[in-house]
Point group: C2
Amino acid sequence: MKDQFKKHISRYVEFNDTEINEIFSKLTQKTFKKKDYLLKEGQICKSNYFLTSGLVRSFYLDHKGNEKITQFALENWWVTNMESYIKSVPSYSSIQAIEKTTVLIIDKIELEKLFRTIPKLERYFRMITENMLIAIQRRNDIYLQMKSKDRYDDLIHNFPVFAQRVPQYMIASYLEITPEYLSELRKK
Amino acid sequence: MKDQFKKHISRYVEFNDTEINEIFSKLTQKTFKKKDYLLKEGQICKSNYFLTSGLVRSFYLDHKGNEKITQFALENWWVTNMESYIKSVPSYSSIQAIEKTTVLIIDKIELEKLFRTIPKLERYFRMITENMLIAIQRRNDIYLQMKSKDRYDDLIHNFPVFAQRVPQYMIASYLEITPEYLSELRKK
DNA sequence: CTTAATGATTAAGGTATCTTAAGAAATAAG
DNA sequence: CTTATTTCTTAAGATACCTTAATCATTAAG
């Protein structure tokens, strides 16, 4: 667990063992069952979650009460509701386990203390945030112009694991189409 | 100019005059005429731009050769192509002045040096990046589900300045609809 | 002032995608 | 094994949005 975490961090910034241990001492491990919530709509998100195993989704309810999935996250991904976490406002979305999922939790207050004692950690999170921004920008820019069929093909090409581990109707939601129409598209 | 920049930075992190001066000494000022390019598709984006006045757009060409606008930026906004800047890969989008625009330019290499000598600056950029992420996530999450009419209303409500300073067909492009259809919508 | 270039509107017909509703198919639970 | 629950498919009619093409309005250029 610690190794997995260290390995991931080391892809961005090098820490010595003392630093890793200090960081690690602030982490809490927790396991969620399928359908359990890491974060519920309306709560203030006070933590950042590092998945060591499993699969989660972020979603919110639109004005008609339909669930809109905005993100999936897998092993070695960080997940949080950025807006709620940064601004300490109630989250408009929920984070829910699609499979049994184990996470390392870092509290915002603890993390900010760590930033003071280990400035390199701030670098790591800046880089992580930049990468999230790039990914989300790509989704934004590219997906918006694509036809649904192309978005679906793109998704299962780049993340075949989703097609295997996520029910179709959730993929439809993520692609912003109805399950019925996705079913149509898959026939082609 | 320096005051404007200092004022903006101070909203996030406090710097003393020595620090501000060191940062400021690495900035280059430049003015672009209307339709000039800050960055052209295919180039590697090596700088981050802080607008002190004016208005720019980011756009790319889709497979049919149509311009797709993905972002506007105004006074006191940072703009860059994040993917190209971070990964040093050719940019798939261009940044172009819609009005005469003046910017402060910080070179990536200089900025990274500054991060070492002034760690607080890294905090500032982490926070800026987080805010960009929040903004773009909101656009992503909310806009995707909205009907075009609602997106348009939302835009001119939250950024009335765009309706004044940006031609309608560019707003249509940003909203991912045709100018013809936007014209339809406005009649209602 | 006149012409050229740019931006905005209108209308007709077409296509992508949604809605609703019903019924298979697959998986989980008793 | 049987029933209940969850997930996937099919089909018909409705609607949001696009395409093309023409006309009008505004701003920039000679």
